[in-house]
Structures are given as C-alpha cells and as structure tokens.
Symmetry: C2
C-alpha cells in the first residue's frame, strides 16, 4: 500500500518505520526543518526495542509535495492544533480514492477532516503504542501496543479491513473496531482528568492519585464527558472510566509518569492540546446547552498557565 | 475599655498596640509560644510607620487565662480555621456583658461565634488596615486603613457605638456601618478570585490581570458569590465587584502583590483559608441547592495543592 504519514513526529515515525519494514511504500510529511534535513541525510533512524534501525524514506514539507503524488492512505498524526493547517496544505494529495486514517488523540477532529476529505473516506483510530524522539531524525521506540480503527461511514469498511490487514503484516497489532468512537471518548476522558489536573497542580499521576480531593474532581469531570458524549450516541460507562483512571496511579506502573500535557507545558513551555480534550467537551456542551463548568474552568486555567509560561 | 485581642498575630498586634496607646486596658491572647515569650520579655515591639514603639501588654495562651479575668470586648483576629478552637478555649472569658467583635476575613464565622456568644453580643467588622510580623513579638505596621463595624442584632447598637468611639480615639478610623455584611461579602468575593487564582496559577495580581482568560474566570466566580449571597439578603453588585477586582491589577498599586493565600501556601507551605472564602460559598450553595462549580473546583484544587506541599 502507498501510505503518507502526515505528521512524522515520534508516533508518525514509529508507524512509518514499521509499515515500511513490512514492504509498504511510505512517504513522510512534516514541518520541522531539522527533522526533514536529518532524515534526508541519514534516513529515519530509530532505536527499536534496543536494536538500531534505519529506514530510507522520502520526507517532504507540506509546501514541497510533488504535484502528481498520489497515495492510497494518509495517516494523520499531527498535534491536534496542527491538523487543520496540515490538511489545508496537503489538499493536492487528497483524491476521490484517498482514505485518511486519523490516529490523533482528543475530540472534535471529525469537524476538521470533513472540511478536506469526503466522510466516506475517513477512518478513525486510536492507539496504545508509545514513541519518543531523541532528536531530529532519531526515534526511540520501546514497548508494544495496539491500534483499533473503524470507518465512519459503512461504505468505508472494505478499505478499512484492507488497512487492518496491512497494519497486521507490519506487526502494529490492529483490530477492526465496532465502536472506535467509544474508545476515542474513553481515552479523551482519561486524558481529560490526568493531563489537566497534573499540569495545573504540578504533580505526577501517582501524586494526583494520592490526593483526598482527586476522586471528587475526576468524578465531576468524567460526568461532564459522559453527559456530552451521550448526546453523540456514546454511552461512557462512568464507573469503568474512573476505574481505568485509578489504575494509572500505581507507582509500579504509570504512577511516576508525568502526562504529555505536563511535559509539553511545564517541561517544554509548549502549548497544550487542552482545546481538543476538555475544551472540546466544553464547546460541544455549549452547542448542546449542557453545562460543563469543570471542563471550562480547567481549560481556562491551562490556557492561563500557557500564557504565564509564554508557551509557543 | 477593657479589651482582649483573641489572636494577637500581625493584625491583632496592630489593633492591640493602637488601642493600648489610646489608654485602653488591652490583653493579648495567642497560641504561639515564641511570640508569647518575646512579648513577656521585651513587650510588644513594633515599627509603626518608621518609628520604633513598644507596648507592655499582658499576653496569655488560651490555656492559662486567669479564671477571674473579665473584659468588655473581645476582638477576634485569629486565622479563620483557628476561630472555633480559640473560642472553645476562652469560654471562661465570655460573660453575659462581654461583646465580641470579629474582624476576620472570610465567610461563615457567624456559625462559629454563635456557638459561644449570644447573638446580641456579636459585632461584625471588616478592616483595610494591613500588618506584618517580622518575627516573634515584633510587628511591622505601615500605611493607614479603616474599620467598619455593625452589631448583628439591633440591641447591640448602643455598645457598638461605644466601640466605634473607643476605636476613634485610637485613630483606627472606624465607622459604624449600616451594612457590614455587604462589605464582608464584597471583600470575600474579591479574595475569592484573586487569592485562589493567583495561588493555583502561581502568579501575582498583575500577571493574573494580564491573562486573556481572567475576565471569564472572575465573572464566573463573582456570579456564584452573588447568587449565594442574594439568599442571605445581600445584593452584591457584580459589575462593581468586578471593577474593584480589576482595580488591583495595576502594577503601580497592588499589581506586584502576591495575595495572602499565595504567601501562606506557596511561600510558607501553610494551610489556606480557602474553606472560609470559596469553600464557604460552596457549602452555603449546597445547603441552598445552588450550584457553585467554580468555587467548588477552586477549593478542591487549593486543598490538593496544600496536600502536595505538605502544608501545615
């Protein structure tokens, strides 16, 4: 399959590398000049569970895509706030037979993608793989994970099953989901508690879990996610989401971990994805006239902190 | 007049010193052993607008009050969370003719005082004086201020007017108020925005004022205070409270100031008075079935931060 990775950061590098190793024709698209230069010079390097790997993949910035380039699948893996600009810039790549698989975290990306891609050609997915970048052109890829995906319109199923097959051969552990939107909401809801609260309280997941107030706070936030998602036909089981959140507190597993939003904002002074997590629930709630004060307050506190830290 | 100051910290020292200088018989009551020892050894020392002053005042811990001690007025100036314990310990001091003037910040103190003092003998007040302690037994007293006070039952008016007169002779700039509860609510509402937000965002008042999100946040919090206070017969004018809050942002005036809650928690790892500001509105709201999610969330975030910083 001919596949473009739109957003070839840490996770995009992992998926691109593994799909390439399984014999697919992979093209990377990214906006970071140093990353592009490094991959053009030496290929995409990776430490893959302790083994050094290299993949000589073409990489383009969105502005320099060859006009006649055509792919079967675009895997969207930008940061949430860069999705719109990326798809605006790579419109030439989107033909009537091009499918797009979004693996972004967070909510509300369907609104963005539908501006550029026919609904029938959109596949949504969620992944538990992890990935890091040690520097431009060099990915650190440890552990294992899985991907679930589902077409959003029935007509997309046949192609989605092909993608599952291609991902299976690349050992990406895909499954065809019968309710990927549930998984996306559940993941967003877990992120919507741990990310914002650890960031604003300046603590790791285990420390958050130890606080007397945390049960109340996560219960209030999860309830807002569940009330809004219900209106989109997704019944989030609040008790099981809370159990999944509480399972992360154990210091022997994820308890010592600082969530990605903490790392973005507090460690690296980068803007966060809060608008696509709690902020998305707040926006959806406003449209539906459902009050979501906890999501609203948390979104504004994080934006306040971004401004105080002069996050870019 | 014979006056006991229950809680002779910075503000209690100021009021005690000034009342003593005007010829009143003043007794200090406090729980800090080093402060008691220093005042017993050298008297209460103060830098009063640049002039060194000393007042040789008796000081007791609540547990060692002489059994036959009687005063006309007790001025309550403990920290909010210490009020109940203080009055439990000084019950022997409260006779049928003893009045209590509360100058504490925050809300809900009437519930505490009414456990120990007949309602007719309670006076509430609020002050704009400031004060600091440089160390045990040594107060730093600069600037000027005023006090307003009002009896909560009509029968207390005669004595309250006497107290106003005594305070006037002590140059404490008192006025008899015809709506002290309005002033207390307004002050609590200003504190209920600046204190909690600066503390959780780790910024000073001017930096808070510069944030894009601040108008939204203070509007939401002020609205909760106003909705709850309305049920107590206090009509908080939201626009004027917001204007009073916004007047503090100017770096030429209070903008460079870190609110007392920030100083307590972030600088000194001491527990905050949040339960008597936003927390009191939340509790009152629960009793009245009025939702106060911003006050609730902010109260819980501050408690979470107290626990993370191991505040005492």
């Amino acid at each position: 399959m001919k596949i473009a990775i739109a957003g070839a950061g840490a996770m995009g590098s992992r998926i691109g590398l593994m799909l390439h190793a399984a014999g697919n024709q992979v093209i990377l698209i990214d906006t970071w000049p140093a990353h592009i230069a490094a991959i053009r010079e030496k290929g995409l390097l990776a430490n893959l569970n302790g083994q050094e790997a290299v993949a000589h993949l073409p990489i383009y910035s969105p502005t320099e895509l060859p006009a006649d380039l055509q792919v079967d699948l675009i895997v969207a893996l930008t940061k949430s706030m860069q999705l719109d600009q990326m798809f605006q810039m790579i419109q030439s790549l989107i033909h009537p037979t091009t499918y797009v698989l979004s693996l972004l975290n967070g909510l509300g990306h369907e609104d963005t993608l539908e501006k550029y891609v026919p609904k029938e050609n959109i596949i949504f997915g969620t992944t538990t793989w992890t990935a890091g970048l040690k520097g431009p052109g060099y990915a650190e890829l440890t552990g294992t994970g899985a991907i679930e995906m589902e077409n959003i319109e029935p007509s997309g199923k046949e192609f989605t099953l092909k993608v599952v097959d291609v991902f299976k051969k690349a050992k990406l552990n895909p499954v065809y989901s019968d309710n990927v939107r549930y998984s996306i909401w559940k993941k967003a809801c877990i992120n919507g508690t741990l990310n914002g609260l650890c960031t604003i309280l300046d603590c790791n997941v285990g420390e958050l879990g130890n606080l007397t107030v945390t049960k109340d706070l996560i219960t209030a936030i999860v309830s807002e996610f569940a009330t809004v998602s219900q209106q989109e036909g997704i019944h989030l089981d609040q008790a099981s989401v809370i159990a999944a959140i509480e399972a992360t507190y154990d210091p022997e597993t994820q308890g010592r971990h600082y969530p990605s939003m903490y790392q973005d904002l507090i460690k690296s002074q980068r803007k966060t994805e809060i608008d696509y997590i709690n902020g998305a629930v707040w926006r959806k709630g406003q449209r539906l006239e459902i009050p979501t004060p906890y999501c609203a307050f948390l979104t504004e506190l994080i934006h306040g902190k971004e401004q105080l830290l002069n996050a870019k």
